[in-house]
């Protein structure tokens, strides 16, 4: 899952791999320490001498590139927050490994019913999409979006040499570095490389997923509900001083201080919108936070994803400066009794995403918002004897939005040409990311991904 332990890895950074290779060194440095070092040449020189220059090249390159980019546009930091494409990304993570085969269902393929047996969805209830595929019956609104060409379905997404682990697979998806998924998130690297405010990406819920964690910058996070700082103005001024990092602190203490500084920035920028839009009572907000902290899923009361997305919708409608939002839904690890669990979860996904897109259709910013839905792996073709499915390989991803070019992308994996009983991926998941980076975020994918990946035409 999205654990992000500080790994004091002594591994030698590889200058050939700018996006991931700096991790070992740069993780030992926090954002403000780096910035203050970069500002004072003497101190930086000392660190460079200690670490070896190759470690620094890419970090330095990224910061310099960001600086160049900033000075070539307008000089205010507000402008640096402005999206390059005018588009907004909502990253929707399904935790547990959603069974894509029972989500986008090859219901006309006899191999499907044969392999799935009692877990096969009744073909008469499947919502047909064409080409022999149909959506799970609990997803009528996404089926309508597909017909409306506002939903792209990427088939056969995955990566080589999968190993069935939730954690490693999710780390691979979130770092986009299958060979070493212990480093920064793919969007965290974007925050780093553009020297962004943490607010440029915003997680709804208390724990920021690795995807949005860079070496120097971690995306901001908010809970649903109003944002009210405690204490008097005087207390808050003291808190602000406390949040100033000191070179005498260790790295983690410095990161703790930075999270406080970032909170003040969140409050300054988003506080007014969040307070105005907090329609729910504080009790409702607490219940929402509780459910979100629990990862949503079976235990939660109500649709936690809808709660998160309603916060995002309000921020988008208010023209908040964030360009990437992150929301999540858990509970997809259906080793046993899969049918009722998945039905509930996919129903929540269907209603939350469709309501979200409806609510933001009134503004240009909203119409230019793109939702990417992914999960760590697909599940095995054959069901198990517990009326569930085990961890598998290839899967589907969804891209939804008013400006999305809907339809099927990627090749559907074969149901007969299997490996260890698993469907084999046809589309590297980084093709999805490359498309999103270039077309939605407006940054060259080669700077953030380890390799070149063909883009898909879904935006």
């Amino acid at each position: 899952m999205d654990t992000n332990p500080e790994k004091p890895s002594p591994a030698q950074p590889d200058p050939e791999r700018p996006t991931a290779g700096t991790d070992a060194v740069a993780r030992q440095l926090s954002r403000r320490r780096f910035l203050s070092l970069a500002a004072g040449g003497g101190a930086l020189g000392a660190v460079l001498a200690a670490l070896g220059p190759s470690a620094w090249l890419s970090v330095w390159d990224a910061a310099a590139a960001a600086e160049a980019k900033r000075s070539s546009s307008t000089s205010s930091s507000k402008a640096a927050l402005g999206s390059q494409t005018g588009r907004t990304l909502v990253l929707l993570t399904l935790y547990g490994g959603n069974d894509g085969l029972n989500t986008v269902i090859p219901y006309e393929n006899p191999a499907y019913a044969a392999a799935r047996g009692p877990l096969a969805i009744d073909p008469t209830t499947v919502l047909p999409l064409g080409d022999g595929y149909g959506l799970h019956p609990s997803m009528p609104k996404l089926a309508a979006l597909f017909k409306d060409s506002k939903l792209a379905i990427v088939q056969g997404v995955g990566f080589a040499d999968p190993n069935y682990s939730h954690f490693e697979s999710m780390d691979i998806w979130q770092t986009a570095v299958p060979s070493d998924p212990s480093g920064t998130g793919w969007l965290g690297r974007w925050l780093d490389a553009t020297n962004s405010s943490p607010l440029r990406a915003l997680n709804i819920g208390p724990v920021v997923p690795t995807a949005l964690v860079g070496n120097r910058i971690q995306a901001a996070a908010i809970a649903p509900g109003p944002l009210v700082l405690p204490g008097t103005r005087g207390d808050q001024a003291l808190y602000r001083e406390l949040a100033a990092t000191s070179s005498h602190m260790g790295t983690l203490q410095m990161e703790a201080a930075e999270s406080c500084a970032d909170l003040l920035e969140v409050d300054r920028t988003l506080g007014p919108v969040l307070d105005r839009d907090a329609g729910s009572t504080s009790a409702e907000a607490s219940a929402g936070a509780l459910a979100i902290a629990n990862g949503g899923g079976q235990s939660s009361s109500g649709n936690v994803l809808a709660t998160q997305l309603s916060v995002v919708a309000n921020l988008i409608l208010a023209e908040a400066p964030s360009e990437v939002y992150s929301v999540q839904l858990g509970g997809f690890d259906t080793h046993a009794d899969q049918l009722p669990t998945q039905q509930t979860l996919l129903g929540d996904l269907d209603s939350a995403v469709s309501a979200f897109l409806d609510s933001i259709s009134t503004t240009r910013r909203g119409r230019d918002t793109v939702v990417l839905v992914y999960t760590e792996f697909g599940r095995r073709l054959a069901g198990n004897a517990s009326a569930g499915t085990d961890h598998g390989w290839a899967n589907v991803a969804f891209v939804a939005g008013h400006s999305v070019k809907g339809g099927f992308f990627g090749d559907a994996p074969s149901l007969t040409d299997l490996s260890e009983g698993n469907m084999i991926y046809t589309t590297d998941f980084r093709s999805v990311y490359a498309t999103v980076l270039e077309q939605v975020i407006g940054v060259a994918p080669s700077r953030l991904l380890d390799g070149k990946f063909p883009q898909l035409a879904f935006v």
Binding site: P5, P8, E241, M254, S259, L290, A385, G388
Partner: protein
């Protein structure tokens, strides 16, 4: 840099307990570091009169056959309501135990084991089962890790959580077999997918009695076929699998690495410190001895270990309540429901987000969590007993706040801010959100 004894002892108490009171620290200074460490570890197998003042709630016995409820919506709703109430009681009970504990290392180890074997009531549903697992951590956690793993694996909570209890011989699900090796005992890379399949067959037919919790193996659902597992042939029983994984060379490095990461600073099984700890652990697999070896290892008191951890939300909340003398029950009414506070920080005890449990360190450092910490700090500082600070002369308050919160040394930045706090309560509130206190 060698720390002075006060600093060393404060760190020992923060890591192996929930911080030290002024009197505990005073006594420890007399006893010295080694004796204090030994006494804290000895507490792992001793009673806890403080925690035992918290009444254990009576949890319902699960219905023998929940299927009958499917046709009875009224009974089903009643059951839901009761389960939801019991869930809150269970969480409140454990938090209250940690706050009231007079033998806090034992509750701390229980918490660390919950992080190691994360299991969630969201799927297990019945508080009684979660309570049962929690008692295993508390009463058997300090002993032989192999025996502990056998006990946890055959207990209802884990059998439900990782679907072993629905496993059948024909085509076993791999959930428990995989997580047993990946998360609980050996670490990724020390086994193959074929090992996972083989182990899954060995765990088929594992069942328990829903009312008594008694473990059994259903012969007709159990696959007797001999498997090759970790290179050993003829393996066909789940307890053999657990025996092999807990006695493996990989486990002898994985477990010391895991506990070092929980108590000292993140590390990997290949590190030097793990090489130092592994032989001792391999000799007896005793968690008590492992914890002892960790806290007396020279690296434990190094500067980097001193900045090696961020407090988990449970540690943060429990530590603050203990320091300020606020019983959990009182905090729930005068501050806010503690489970809500913890949920807003991202950590609900008994309900980890997934089989992976919680992350560590920067995982807890979001801006959302920072706000919740600050609000909580502000409330408890005004609610709690801060007389040691308030009664001190203004010039001595900074040191008193450090004593109250087990932080002997404030940075120059923090010290300067705290000295300018308008009143003692604000000083304590700010101290509670200072980087020195947020880290552990």
């Amino acid at each position: 840099m060698a720390h002075d004894l006060t600093t060393q002892l404060a760190q020992l108490y923060r890591r192996l307990a929930f911080g030290a009171s002024a009197s505990e620290l005073q006594r420890a200074l007399g006893a010295g570091y080694a004796a204090t460490a030994a006494a804290l570890v000895a507490g792992l197998s001793q009673p806890d009169p403080g925690a035992d003042t918290i009444a254990t709630p009576a949890f319902m016995t699960p219905p023998a056959d929940p299927a009958v409820l499917r046709s009875d919506p009224v009974a089903r709703r009643q059951l839901q309501q009761q389960l939801s109430a019991e869930r809150a009681e269970l969480m409140g009970w454990w938090i209250a135990r940690m706050v009231a504990s007079t033998n806090p290392a034992r509750e701390k180890l229980t918490l660390l084991l919950h992080a190691h074997f994360p299991t969630g009531i969201s799927k297990v549903r019945y508080a009684l089962y979660m309570y049962g697992q929690n008692q295993i951590f508390r009463t058997q956690g300090a002993g032989d890790f192999a025996a502990l793993t056998q006990a946890v694996s055959t207990d209802p909570a884990m059998l439900i959580w990782l679907d072993a209890a629905s496993d059948e011989a024909s085509d076993p699900n791999e959930n428990f077999a995989r997580e047993l090796m990946e998360r609980f005992t050996m670490g990724i890379g020390s086994y193959t997918q074929a090992d996972v399949r083989a182990a899954a067959y060995c765990f088929t037919g594992w069942r328990f009695n829903r009312r008594t919790g008694q473990f059994s193996i259903a012969p007709r659902q159990h696959s007797d076929a001999p498997q090759v597992f970790l290179g050993q042939s003829g393996i066909n029983a789940g307890n053999q699998v657990i025996d092999l994984v807990t006695h493996s060379a990989a486990s002898y490095r994985f477990i010391p690495s895991s506990f070092w990461s929980l108590l000292a600073a993140p590390t990997t099984p290949s590190s030097q410190v793990v090489s130092d700890l592994a032989p001792g652990y391999a000799a007896d697999r005793s968690i008590a001895n492992l914890l002892q070896a960790i806290v007396i290892h020279p690296d434990f008191l190094s500067t980097s270990t001193g900045d090696g951890l961020i407090k988990q939300p449970v540690e943060y909340v429990v530590g603050a309540l203990r320091a300020l003398g606020i019983p959990a029950g009182a905090a729930a009414t005068s501050v806010r429901p503690l489970v809500t506070v913890l949920a807003e920080m991202g950590q609900v005890p008994f309900d980890p987000p997934s089989v992976g449990g919680w992350g560590q360190n920067t995982y807890w450092l979001s801006t959302a969590a920072a706000l919740v910490r600050w609000k909580f700090a502000d409330q408890v500082a005004r609610e709690g007993d801060i007389s040691v600070v308030a009664d001190s002369a203004p010039a001595a308050r900074l040191e008193a706040a450090g004593q109250l919160l087990s932080i002997p040394n404030w940075s120059a930045t923090t010290a300067s801010v705290l000295r300018r706090a308008p009143d003692p309560a604000t000083m304590v509130a700010l101290a509670l959100v200072a980087p020195e206190y947020v880290s552990n």
